[in-house]
């Protein structure tokens, strides 16, 4: 499809509830995307990835996923690529495209006109690991390293500056930045001038593992993406599989899912906020934070008897039904949450010293949209976009809740927005608890009574054969704890997916930090990173 065809058929795009796919020739990509961005307001690039079909000469497909924030339209632009072809880079149209293109080059070997380096794998792997014909044997160097080239000095600096400033390593070792991570920083004394994130230290190849595992197995792998929000991760994956196979849910299981996804939002927001305050010097919050974490974990433990990672999701419904005293326990936990929030507010919200220390590196709303920010971090810049309001899934359209917005996009705005979101999700939970619908928790086709002999044989067959998904391509997304969490699944009719792409909210944000850091102290840099609350396992997958 070219530019002229888009003008003719544009009325097709006005569809709120569907993602529309268009196929474009690889020569016209830049033209088409510029047209879509400038005239039809598809401002944000949400995702960019590659699929290996492994048939003939036109083997790869590169997919651009666009979003119109004003009217909430979604668009999917597909390009077919030959093995030896070099694609034009869309770096100048969308700022975050370069990072995604680098990933595609690294894992698939699709060439772009821009110069990219292998940032996930380095010298460790010969060949391209995400291709279908990749063999593990004889292709892995255990002594390999990840390359890093020192960038050129900034233009406005003097010769004297270039001699005194130096590049060095800096790694964050606190509870919030989970997993191993490495930053290179340019500093002089106590002042940091530039910062660059070096990926590749926590890359597991999760998307490759998901291709070889059934839909049941992958639930507990995806829980471990981000340990602070394990509940909402697994619930999002289960929702994606149900959309793929068109499984209907009972009302009771939907209500329970909403409760648990809001609980995980409370858990992750409060843990990240309190860690942020503790690192800023308020050590009196350490003991109450530990108690709050324990009470919420016990609430989930009363439900599923699992220690460690909290897991409740099941395809076709829910793991268990709630017990008789669970609702009263839940209400008590909500009271404790509000008490803890009051403690936080008394300590931090009006502390003038703390506010002055935080008052750096504000994010422009234009910058945030260009770099693919989503969720609470985008809302703190003043953009009102919440998937629960805009395209409500489950029962969110029947509930009363507000979407808090920030003004400046600074660290303090992020703090205030997250605090208000916790209050709103407490409000949502109390509304659902008032009228939980009755009925079964599981879908009829997926519920088995283990003690019954006739059911037992069905259960054997079900687990042995797995869920046979139809041949389809879908993208399902939810409002996760940290932003838009999406799964695009490509199934080929068997019990395993042929390709899964995880749209992790933090992936583009880390690379945008380069442009936010400008002559700040180490303490302020620590505050900046804490306020985002990254987890490396979610970034690198």
């Amino acid at each position: 499809m070219s530019v002229v065809d888009i003008e003719k058929n544009f009325n097709v795009f006005f569809n709120k509830n569907q993602t529309i796919k268009i196929a474009v020739d690889s020569k016209n990509v830049i033209e088409v995307l510029e047209k879509l961005k400038n005239e039809y307001n598809f401002i944000q690039l949400i995702d960019l990835f590659c699929v290996d079909d492994n048939n003939g000469s036109e083997r790869f497909r590169v997919i651009y996923r666009l979003l119109n924030l004003e009217n909430h339209y979604r668009l999917e632009v597909q390009i077919k690529v030959q093995t030896d072809e070099t694609l034009p880079s869309v770096k100048n149209v969308f700022k975050n495209a370069a990072v995604y293109e680098n990933e595609v080059f690294d894992l698939y070997g699709v060439n772009f006109k821009e110069k990219y380096y292998r940032f996930f794998t380095g010298n460790k792997i010969n060949g391209f690991p995400m291709r279908k014909d990749f063999e593990v044997k004889n292709n892995i160097n255990s002594s390999g390293r990840i390359d890093w080239q020192e960038p050129e000095p900034q233009r406005h600096t003097t010769v004297f500056d270039r001699e005194t400033r130096s590049w060095g390593d800096w790694s964050v070792q606190n509870s919030e930045f989970k997993g191993s991570s490495l930053f290179k920083i340019e500093s002089e004394g106590e002042i940091v001038y530039r910062l660059r994130f070096i990926p590749g230290h926590a890359h597991k190849g999760l998307e490759k593992i998901l291709e070889n595992s059934t839909y049941h197995q992958s639930i507990s792998l995806i829980e471990r993406l981000n340990l602070n929000s394990s509940l909402s991760n697994s619930l999002a994956w289960v929702k994606a599989v149900e959309e793929l196979c068109e499984i209907e849910l009972s009302d009771r299981s939907i209500a329970l899912r909403m409760i648990f996804s809001e609980i995980s939002r409370i858990y992750s927001h409060l843990c990240s906020l309190s860690d942020f305050c503790i690192s800023a010097g308020l050590t009196s919050l350490i003991a109450p934070r530990r108690e709050l974490k324990k009470t919420i974990e016990e609430l989930v433990f009363a439900f599923n008897n699992h220690r460690g990672v909290m897991s409740v999701a099941q395809i076709g419904g829910f793991l268990n039904d709630i017990g008789p005293q669970w609702i009263t326990q839940c209400l008590e936990v909500l009271k404790e949450v509000l008490n803890f929030q009051n403690l936080l507010e008394q300590a931090c919200t009006r502390d003038s010293e703390w506010m002055s220390r935080i008052d750096t590196s504000k994010v422009d709303s234009n910058f945030a949209i260009q770099w693919g920010y989503t969720g609470a971090i985008l809302r703190s810049c003043g953009v009102s976009y919440d998937i629960r309001k805009v395209r409500p899934y489950y029962f969110y359209s029947d509930l009363d809740f507000d979407v808090p917005l920030g003004i400046n996009g600074g660290i303090y705005d992020r703090y205030l927005v997250k605090m208000e979101e916790v209050r709103q999700s407490v409000r949502i939970i109390s509304q659902i608890l008032d009228n939980i619908p009755n009925g079964p928790i599981m879908n009829k086709d997926y519920s088995f009574n283990k003690n019954d002999y006739a059911d037992k044989m069905d259960f054997y067959n079900f687990i042995n054969n797995g869920i046979q998904a139809p041949r389809r391509e879908i993208y399902s997304f939810v409002e996760g704890d940290n932003g838009e969490l999406g799964f695009s699944i490509f199934s080929n009719g068997s019990d395993r997916p042929s390709r899964v792409k995880i749209r992790s909210p933090y992936f583009p944000i880390v690379y945008s930090l380069e442009y936010l850091v400008d002559s700040i102290t180490f303490n302020q840099l620590d505050d900046l990173l804490q306020s985002f609350a990254f987890s490396t396992s979610e970034i690198e997958r």
């Binding site: 595992s213 992958s218 639930i219 471990r224 460690g308 990672v309 259960f459 687990i463």
Partner: protein
């Protein structure tokens, strides 16, 4: 149960005093054991339930199918699908992520995750069937036999 309760009303009888001491000793002992757990190398391990030496597992291979890190290997003696038909059961404990999937799936309730002491460094972390049997009744027999000797 009601008969037991009658004893508590007679506080100063020698029988009741002995029984009280027994109960207090039990509770104290349990606290002492918990303290020990924290010191030693204890992990959440998928264990096989057994009764008097007969393992409840029927080697149906569902747990190995479901396991996301594929760390379970099961071999069966016969196709009888009865208790005790398991020949070999290995777990690579280094790759176990303790996700409780095997416990959820098992139709015989043969696997349960228990907080037990494990030699992780033995055999590069592979646990065989002898390490994994959880048999409370058999232990009592062995103790009794040792006392008799």
């Amino acid at each position: 149960m009601i008969l037991h309760k009658k004893l508590y009303h007679k506080y100063f009888l020698p029988e009741s005093i002995v029984k009280k001491i027994g109960y207090t000793y039990k509770s104290l002992y349990s606290i002492f054991r918990k303290r020990l757990y924290l010191q030693e190398n204890h992990f959440n391990v998928p264990m096989l339930n057994a009764k008097n030496g007969l393992i409840a597992c029927n080697a149906c291979n569902l747990c190995a199918k479901v396991c996301p890190s594929s760390c379970i290997e099961v071999e069966q003696k016969d196709d009888s699908r009865k208790a005790g038909s398991v020949k070999a059961f290995n777990i690579q404990f280094n790759s176990c992520i303790q996700c409780y999937k095997c416990e959820e799936v098992c139709p015989e309730n043969a696997i349960e995750l228990r907080f037990e002491e494990v030699d992780v460094y033995k055999n590069k972390g592979t646990l065989t069937i002898d390490d994994l049997i959880f048999d409370p009744f058999k232990k009592d027999e062995s103790e009794a036999s040792s006392k008799n000797d």
